[in-house]
């Protein structure tokens, strides 16, 4: 890279002073031994295995479709968080951010799990197709062959067919694996010795990566959530999916940082100033989610075309109505009114509470998008209602715990901070001044 040599002659005040030797970057502060993370990893993976196992068992004793939906809820909640981490990583690179250097490794850690949870989605879809013959993804099955909807299915068959569906899924997972691994390895490579050209290469990867990443995540949201109800279509859907994950994704990053600080790590690396800005991002994303979700609903409500409103009628009336209002208040109004206070964003305890709530309400959001498909059109008598709630809880908790365990293992596997990030000084000295 020729421009690298050019920068040797820049004025000294333009050069970011290196942070080497900064007390906050002492080895004890920025590493965590795998052994101390191991108990957490074991516990979380254990809970995950039990949860997923229970949900699968529920599939056999109660309703297979229900069990798969429960797993998919947890899975998509986690996948959206990981995918947002992947996209935010690339966005931070592209805008030459400085303040993120201290938590860059942690957001990369979350991002690396994107292909893993992409693969579990494929597994759930494969189970649906090969074991249940296409029940959750109704278009895969034969139950609509003799109905009025067969015409619609035939119209859409060029896109909604099994080989293409799994082929696309494979492309998504491979793309995410390549992107996250390239970025993660560049980041790890810099741990050995300072080399700004590695950061420049990560920025280069991010440029094309964000384009490919956005497209694959968009189509994944079509295939894996919107496609559950093949009648429904909305151009806003990918944006809605991203907005949902963005709120919870930043929340998960906050939780990781708070936990590491509680373990006595990242002292002086992450502080009130960083929480403050992460809190602002959460605030921005809850507003963004409300904006997107509102307009998607509103435009179909106003147009009042039955084929479009059916989707929302099912979710805004009857048994799902409480979820509709819970999201209005829980995903927007309450976090908005709480996060608007400066003190909340700067206080790790309060921000942790909001972040935990964000993850919870994000799962509720995924329930709202996915679960109504399970008993749609089924006579009320066959709907177990709250009697099968344990399957949903097992599925969601299981997938979240699995995510937590894999993430904890990831965090324990290397330094907590990319100490040689060329902009580390900016991150350490980061101030809001308000």
């Amino acid at each position: 890279m020729t421009h690298m040599s050019a920068s040797e002659h820049v004025a000294p005040e333009c050069r970011i002073p290196p942070a080497t030797g900064h007390p906050a970057l002492a080895a004890g502060n920025v590493t965590i031994d795998a052994a101390s993370a191991r108990s957490a990893v074991r516990l979380l993976l254990g809970v995950g295995a039990v949860g997923v196992g229970l949900a699968i068992a529920g599939g056999f004793v109660a309703n297979g479709k229900h069990a798969l939906a429960a797993l998919l809820v947890g899975n998509m909640a986690v996948l959206s968080i990981c995918a947002v981490a992947m996209i935010l990583t690339m966005a931070f690179h592209l805008v030459n951010a400085g303040w993120w250097a201290g938590f860059r490794r942690q957001i990369e850690n979350i991002a690396t799990l994107t292909p893993v949870f992409g693969a579990t989605t494929v597994a759930i879809a494969a189970a649906d197709y090969y074991v249940l013959g296409g029940s959750l993804w109704g278009w895969m099955g034969t139950q609509y062959a003799a109905t009025d909807l067969a015409y619609l299915l035939e119209k859409k068959s060029a896109y909604l067919n099994v080989p293409f569906f799994f082929g696309r899924a494979a492309v998504y997972v491979v793309v995410w694996a390549i992107l996250t691994q390239v970025l993660f390895r560049l980041s790890r490579k810099a741990d050995a010795a300072p080399d700004p050209s590695l950061t420049a290469r990560a920025r280069f990867t991010s440029a094309w990566g964000i384009l490919v990443g956005a497209l694959t995540v968009a189509f994944a949201s079509y295939d894996w959530i919107m496609g559950l109800d093949f009648r429904f279509f909305s151009t806003m859907f990918p944006v809605r999916f991203f907005a949902a994950g963005a709120f919870a994704g930043v929340a998960v990053l906050v939780l990781v940082l708070v936990l590491l600080r509680r373990r006595g790590r990242l002292e002086g690396v992450i502080g009130a100033e960083h929480y403050h800005d992460l809190g602002k991002l959460m605030f921005a994303f809850t507003v963004f989610w409300a904006y997107i979700a509102y307009f998607e609903y509103f435009l179909y409500w106003y147009g009042n075309i039955p084929e479009e409103t059916a989707y929302f009628t099912e979710r805004a009336t009857g048994a799902w109505k409480p979820f509709f209002y819970a999201l209005c208040f829980g995903h927007f109004a309450a976090p908005f009114l709480i996060l608007i206070f400066r003190g909340v964003k700067r206080n790790p305890r309060l921000l942790t509470l909001v972040a935990l709530w964000a993850v919870f309400i994000h799962v509720i959001d995924m329930v709202f998008l996915i679960r109504p498909m399970v008993y749609a059109g089924v006579p009320a008598a066959q709907n177990p209602g709250l009697g099968a709630l344990w399957i949903d809880i097992a599925g969601a908790v299981g997938m979240l715990a699995l995510f937590g365990g894999l993430l904890a293992r990831r965090i324990g596997s290397g330094p907590l901070v990319g100490v040689n990030d060329p902009r580390m000084t900016e991150a350490l000295e980061h101030k809001n001044y308000v």
Partner: protein, 512 residues
């Protein structure tokens, strides 16, 4: 450096004088700002300018006579604006039948021009407010002129709803004013929401712009006052009316500066108010164009009724707005002395990158609309989109695609996005493309209705064309007046991003 006393060095540094060093320009870095090394933050102001230099440069644009180009350009654009005004007068006297509207296309260039201008009106507040919230220091080079552009674009935009209603003297009915006939506007109509959205946006943007200018207006006031106190001769208003221009400046800028005295308290309140306004303007930027998009998206007309419209319109507005900022600033930095020190190549590169991102976003939206039109399996929706690409307006559609989606792809190449000429050329294309985007959305959906018997083409008349051309005249005229009479850059904010404003300045290793 060591020859002067350290105290003197500190005093000079605080005064912004410092030691004048030639600005280092590493090879291959353009004007010295195109450095991609992540460990370097390239300078935002070139040539090692002192605080005083910044004041002199920015105030100089107002106080000194502009170049020879200014008056002829101004006369030309003012004439175009005047001709546009005459055509508006003709329209008011004769009626909107003078436009090329017909039974089917009851809305064409008027609403296209409205959405075009209101979109351009977005980038100003975006640059200013959102970049302020994101603490992007480079905003200081472009924020003032972008905010000014916002106000002028909103003025142009507001013209069109005002004149398209037919009986323009009844325009006050747009507002929910009590009247003896008990006639109210339709609160369920997005067109009425537009009235609220745009008037709110215009008000807040004007406040944001004006409030930011207050300290700079006070600087202009004080400089005029100082010259008056120094006595002597100075330029006068007219040869037979010997009032010194500085006296008029003192009164006018003094009135506009509202008693600003650069006190610590003033700055303290100013910064708090600025941040609050930035926080309020940000959702406003999104809301305005979202509401504009609902003018179309709430209807069930094929091609208009799609959920991605609000964010897609916002992305398109930012796209078109940044292109317009570049169209204005690239010539300005050539024509005004020392402006290249304030608007560097890196500023242009940054904006070109935003064009690439937002251009790709609208490309994404075009693609999703097409895909969902097919996937939704609605025959009318499918026809609307195929008709756009292959019907009688195919040329408009492909102009839109090539200008908006393809042309910004040039900016993947560093050479392209750092060349002011290329960026200017692409910005022209984007401005054309964004006008065509609105034309395509509006006219192609209207001209092919559900029954083939209702199909009508739209042909623009000279009145259509001249009112649109006239709106460009109004816009550029106002911008030229802004450059001539108001501070085009935020002086204090630029000083704050100079290296000597940093508390670490002069203490870094190798700094001396």
């Amino acid at each position: 450096m060591s020859s002067i006393h350290p105290d003197q060095a500190t005093a000079e540094r605080l005064a912004g004088l410092g030691q004048v060093r030639p600005h280092p320009i590493p090879a291959g870095s353009g004007d010295g700002t195109l450095i991609d090394d992540p460990a370097v933050r390239p300078p935002l102001v070139l040539n090692n300018r002192s605080f005083r230099d910044v004041t002199d440069i920015v105030c100089g644009y107002v106080e000194n006579k502009p170049g020879k180009w200014w008056m002829p350009t101004f006369m030309m654009t003012a004439t175009i604006a005047g001709i546009g005004g005459l055509f508006i007068l003709y329209l008011v006297i004769t009626g909107i039948g003078t436009w090329g509207l017909n039974n089917q296309v009851g809305w064409a260039w008027d609403i296209t021009n409205f959405v075009f201008w209101i979109g351009i009106g977005h980038a100003g507040t975006l640059i200013s407010a959102i970049l302020c919230l994101f603490k992007q220091k480079w905003r200081t080079a472009v924020n003032r002129s972008a905010e000014a552009m916002t106000i002028f674009a909103v003025i142009c935009a507001a013209t069109f709803p005002g004149i398209h209603i037919g009986r323009q003297w009844m325009a006050w009915f747009l507002l929910p004013l009590p009247n003896s006939n008990w006639i109210w506007p339709n609160f369920q109509s997005p067109l009425l929401w537009d009235v609220f959205a745009i008037s709110t946006y215009g008000t807040v943007s004007a406040m944001f712009w004006y409030m930011g200018m207050i300290p700079d207006l006070a600087t202009l006031r004080d400089r005029a006052d100082r010259r008056l106190r120094a006595g002597g001769e100075g330029p006068v208003l007219l040869p037979f009316l010997p009032i010194r221009i500085d006296r008029i400046r003192g009164y006018v800028y003094g009135f506009l500066a509202m008693g600003w005295r650069f006190s610590n308290r003033h700055w303290h309140r100013y910064e708090a108010a600025y941040l609050l306004l930035a926080g309020m303007s940000t959702p406003l930027v999104l809301s305005v164009h979202s509401i504009v998009s609902t003018d179309f998206a709430t209807s069930i007309l094929p091609g208009w009724h799609t959920t991605i419209f609000p964010p897609y319109f916002v992305a398109g507005a930012i796209f078109g707005g940044f292109a317009m900022v570049l169209l204005l600033l690239i010539p300005a930095r050539e024509l005004y002395p020392n402006m290249k020190d304030l608007v560097t190549k890196r500023h242009i590169e940054n904006m070109a990158k935003i064009l690439l991102v937002t251009g790709s976003m609208v490309g994404f939206a075009y693609a999703m609309e097409f895909f969902i039109a097919w996937y939704g399996a609605n025959a009318y929706e499918q026809f609307a989109f195929i008709n756009r690409a292959t019907g009688p307006y195919w040329w408009a559609y492909w102009t839109m695609i090539s200008c908006n989606v393809l042309s910004p792809q040039l900016f993947w190449m560093k050479r392209m996005r750092t060349s002011a000429g290329v960026v200017f050329f692409v910005s022209v294309l984007i401005t054309i493309g964004m006008w065509f985007e609105r034309f395509v959305i509006i006219t192609t959906s209207l001209n092919r209705s559900f029954l083939p018997g209702e199909w009508h083409m739209f042909f623009a008349t000279p009145v259509d064309v001249m009112i649109f051309v006239g709106s460009f005249g109004i816009f550029v005229t106002l911008f030229l007046l802004f450059l001539r009479f108001l501070p085009a850059f935020p002086i204090a904010e630029i000083k704050a991003i100079l290296p000597q404003a940093s508390p670490h300045h002069g203490h870094a290793k190798g700094g001396h």
